[in-house]
């Protein structure tokens, strides 16, 4: 049975390009005699990205190439916490905190760093079923200040990354794609969604090592639905 693995902690995405999912193959358009186009598509949207990774050397480069190889061109899937470079600031997210703070005695941790603030979670106020396209969040922190284009995910135990496509009323949002797993009022929304992904094909991984460090390492990956993760992958 295929494995669900984790990306190395050192992995840093420097570029992400959304690519058209497999649904594009089931779609097209018909031209009417007056020249207007009727578009059509098949059921099911999927999140797919082309990721490029930061140049690495030493242990980080070894872990990264090990991760690439363990994915076996699509045999295994990986957990991937999506790092949105355009994420709202901590202040916008409702946190008034310095970026880093030491312990009360003024001392940092052993690595010289203090405590850092993280993005708060927001509770879900209404249950939404699998394949539902509308979610409702509580007014805490950023729950009512999302706008179109924000990425949200849910936790715990929920693979899926959703983009807000419509603010119905503050706190009630339409998302794309529709929910991969039902959510209840016991769940929480997060701004750092975790998604399960796997390479789209044997040629989806591009590895390169220059004289000093890796360069141009990239991977094209497609989402694995939450319920497929549970039935096809272990670990």
């Amino acid at each position: 049975m295929a494995r669900l693995i984790s990306s190395p902690d050192s992995t840093v995405v420097i570029a992400s390009t959304p690519i058209s999912g497999p649904n594009a193959r089931g779609s097209g358009s018909t031209t009417a005699s007056d020249g207007s186009e009727q578009t059509f598509s098949s059921i099911g949207d999927v999140v797919a990205f082309d990721f490029k990774f930061v140049a690495r050397k030493g242990a980080a480069a070894r872990r990264e190439r090990g991760w690439f190889k363990a994915l076996h061109s699509g045999v295994n899937a990986t957990r991937f916490t999506f790092c949105d470079l355009d994420k709202m600031s901590l202040t916008d997210a409702g946190i008034q905190s310095p970026p880093s703070s030491n312990w009360s005695n003024g001392q940092p941790w052993a690595n010289g760093l203090g405590w850092a603030a993280s993005y708060p979670l927001v509770s879900v106020v209404a249950a939404s079923s699998l394949d539902s396209g509308v979610v409702e969040l509580s007014p805490d922190f950023w729950g009512h200040s999302l706008d179109i284009g924000d990425y949200v995910g849910f936790m715990p135990f929920h693979f899926g990354m959703y983009t807000i496509t419509e603010v119905i009323v503050p706190g009630k949002y339409r998302i794309w794609p529709r929910l991969r797993r039902a959510i209840t009022t016991d769940d929480f929304a997060t701004l750092t969604p975790t998604i399960a992904m796997r390479p789209i094909s044997a040629g989806a991984i591009s590895q390169g090592r220059g004289l000093f460090m890796t360069n141009s390492q990239s991977i094209s990956m497609v989402e694995v639905f939450d319920y497929d993760v549970r039935s096809h992958f272990t670990g």
Partner: protein
């Protein structure tokens, strides 16, 4: 009553149509429901599994569905590939039971954004499966192919009043010339 209502026609002529074929197969191991999109879709009270695997590694390919016309045996080609050896072997081992299994093809349209069903399942093809065969492509690709054939093909000739021909149509609806134009090239000329 028309099979596709006026409301259905409006949906089908809209600017965007999200549609899929839904196939209900009575395999020896039980009834399986598939659709030609991605992921699971609940429609008609059942959960249908999407069978198109991401990016070309199609588990099941379904050929285009042609309208049955007199003189042509209409069949839908189904190709299983990219699946595990065990899965392909299980199909092969069950081939005697698969032959003749009932396989109905439905059509439905859903709203692309909300997932609401705009046209509910409509049965478009009352079919059954042929015996599976191994399809050879090139030196190394082996897949299992089978056909969904119409029940008309099963009895080898159209039954009375079911012929999809100009004569059959006139028998059902006197004076209906609609089928005279099937497979005929129609040329429209616009004169200034």
């Amino acid at each position: 009553m028309a099979y596709f209502s006026t409301a259905d026609m409006d949906v089908l002529s809209g600017p965007h149509v999200q549609r899929a074929w839904f196939v209900e197969v009575h395999f020896p191991s039980g009834i399986r429901r598939y659709h030609t999109g991605m992921g699971k879709k609940t429609i008609g009270g059942y959960v249908w599994d999407g069978v198109s695997d991401p990016f070309g590694g199609a588990l099941v390919g379904l050929s285009s569905i042609e309208e049955p016309a007199f003189g042509s045996a209409v069949a839908i080609d189904v190709l299983f590939s990219g699946a595990s050896k065990e899965f392909l072997k299980s199909i092969w081992d069950d081939k005697d039971d698969i032959e003749g299994a009932q396989c109905d093809v439905y059509f439905a349209v859903v709203d692309a954004e909300t997932g609401n069903i705009l046209i509910d399942l409509k049965k478009v093809f009352d079919g059954k499966l042929t015996a599976p065969g191994i399809v050879f492509r090139g030196a190394s690709i082996r897949s299992i192919g089978l056909k969904i054939i119409s029940i008309f093909e099963g009895i080898n000739f159209p039954t009375t009043k079911s012929m999809w021909s100009p004569a059959g149509q006139r028998e059902r609806f006197a004076g209906d010339k609609g089928f005279d134009f099937i497979n005929a090239t129609v040329v429209e000329e616009y004169k200034a």
